[in-house]
Subunit: 160 residues, 2 copies
């Protein structure tokens, strides 16, 4: 694999949220109280892949943060006074602008349209993937948060 290899993704759908610009978005998806129900619209050709989602309380969504102008490897977060490496932040400036959110899955609004809570991305964000959230491999409640520990948000919405 060369350093210039290009890997091509394609949208499998669109995320609908109440936030029209990055400046409108909450700091994280669990900060708004109540967390608004957002919609995940999956393109028809991918609907067969949605079978068996019933019964999962939470999902992992991957999406393409297409509203970010330019990646930055280092920057000073607005709530901090030290320059940080981008890989130690959840800011949208990563070299590959792929967002990851753990969301509560509230079922289908209609075929191919999922109701979810705890997103924090802009309206119209291209969806890349849906995965089931598995607490056996994805939940580490005691994980330590490095420099972000003292900035942790006191989220109104906790585990459900």
């Amino acid at each position: 694999m060369s350093q210039t290899t290009t890997l091509s993704c394609r949208p499998i759908g669109t995320i609908r949220t109440p936030w029209q610009t990055p400046a409108d978005c909450p700091r994280n998806g669990r900060q708004p109280d109540p967390a608004p129900v957002c919609r995940v619209q999956v393109l028809p050709e991918f609907h067969p892949g949605l079978a068996s989602l019933d019964g999962f309380s939470h999902l992992i969504l991957l999406y393409w943060m297409d509203r970010v102008a330019q990646p930055k490897l280092r920057f000073t977060p607005p709530f901090d006074d030290t320059e940080r490496g981008v890989f130690a932040t959840r800011a949208p400036f990563h070299p590959n602008p792929i967002g990851v959110s753990v969301v509560a899955f509230d079922g289908f609004a209609e075929p191919g349209v999922l109701n979810v809570r705890f997103l924090d991305c802009t309206d119209g964000t291209p969806l890349l993937d849906i995965k089931p959230y598995l607490p056996t491999t994805d939940a580490v409640p005691a994980a330590s948060m490095g420099w972000l520990g003292r900035h942790a948000t006191r989220n109104a919405n906790t585990t459900t």
Copy 2:
């Protein structure tokens, strides 16, 4: 955004694991006991983005599962008797073959090379992103696992 939009990613590094083919890989990264220490080699141009990772016990890695020949929207898992939608599985056949793993971060082996545990991908997998794991938004220990609940692995490695 059209349905044929192409979104381009590029590797930011390479993941080194003990598994040479998909058939060698464990069912999930917490199944092997002990979990081997794997290496994440970040390309030099991205090293500045690694500042401030110290103190995070866990990270989220995104990677490109380049050994998967063909996406499948439905398939019958080897441990199940029912056809499932791919978005209700963590199988590597998703339309965009982006893997997500929560790993324990054991520090740097050398500048730009991370020691991590709990990966389950093949050796040489292209790395797409590193994010800090935040239990405030990423940990949902009580999440329900739908059809996968009765197949949950009794992992040797639990939360650390």
